[in-house]
């Protein structure tokens, strides 16, 4: 089973060099998801006849798949002294 990226690295201009622990962010998101799960389930049942319920039900796994796929994404843009580097590991 693939996991979402644990770390995000942001470098701006060479002065700002941040390592963001995404695993803590996912922990907080998971807690919020658990808390909101009953409300989302009710919404799915209510919206099921108008097709949006299916969308809501499938969007969770789809978003999780996209998040897991972010591992390895790197964007590096530099212009003279300006530089932006974003990386997911």
């Amino acid at each position: 089973m693939s996991m979402p990226p644990c770390l995000m690295r942001i470098k701006i201009r060479g002065h700002i060099n941040l390592w963001i622990p995404l695993f803590l962010v996912w922990l907080i998101v998971a807690i919020f998801a658990l808390v909101l799960a009953p409300i989302v389930l009710i919404l799915i049942l209510v919206l099921w006849p108008v097709e949006w319920g299916r969308f809501l039900l499938m969007s969770g796994p789809a978003i999780y798949r996209c998040l897991c796929a972010l591992r390895g994404l790197e964007v590096d843009i530099s212009q003279s002294e300006e530089r932006v580097f974003v990386s997911f590991r």
């Binding site: 693939s2 097709e51 949006w52 299916r54 969308f55 499938m58 969007s59 789809a62 798949r65 996209c66 897991c68 796929a69 972010l70 591992r71 390895g72 994404l73 790197e74 964007v75 590096d76 843009i77 530099s78 212009q79 003279s80």
Partner: protein, 147 residues
């Protein structure tokens, strides 16, 4: 007889492929078949062929740019992100598909999003393993390749 040859003959026996198709597949396998020792190398080459990232590199020199500063762009996109993006189309509600199709047709794209399947994407991704684009002029270069 190699495993690949056996699979082809099984598919022919089950009538999943025609005689012509089986013959063509066996012909393609012919240079690669030999002793059993070659098979692990064959599977290693097959697994090596599946690309993991799409890399786009753009370099432009200072001349020809309005601000006179060179620019470098280097983007590495995981293929799994592209696959996940295609799979997102499967959760779009049907009435939204129709609106998207209409908008695409207005722009001249006769393309139905519902026809995009993950199996087709796998075929495209495998075919991309040999992709290499390298465009250079005096002022800028663009390189696209998979790794």
């Amino acid at each position: 007889m190699s495993d690949s040859q056996k699979k082809i003959l099984e598919m022919l026996a089950q009538k999943k492929i025609s005689v012509d198709e089986a013959y063509r597949l066996l012909e393609l396998l012919q240079p690669e078949t030999g002793t059993g020792a070659k098979e692990p190398k064959e599977s290693k080459e097959e697994s090596k062929g599946s690309p993991k990232y799409l890399r786009v590199t753009i370099k432009s020199s200072a001349e020809g740019r309005p601000d006179g500063a060179p620019e470098h762009v280097n983007v590495r996109v995981p293929m799994s992100l592209i696959r996940a993006g295609v799979k997102l189309t499967s959760i779009i509600p049907p009435h939204v598909y129709n609106r998207v199709d209409e908008a695409l047709k207005e722009k001249g794209f006769e393309f139905d999003l519902r026809n995009m399947k993950p199996e087709d994407l796998e075929e495209l991704v495998t075919a991309l393993s040999d992709l290499e684009v390298d465009i250079q002029n005096g002022k800028a270069s663009v390189q696209v390749h998979v790794e």
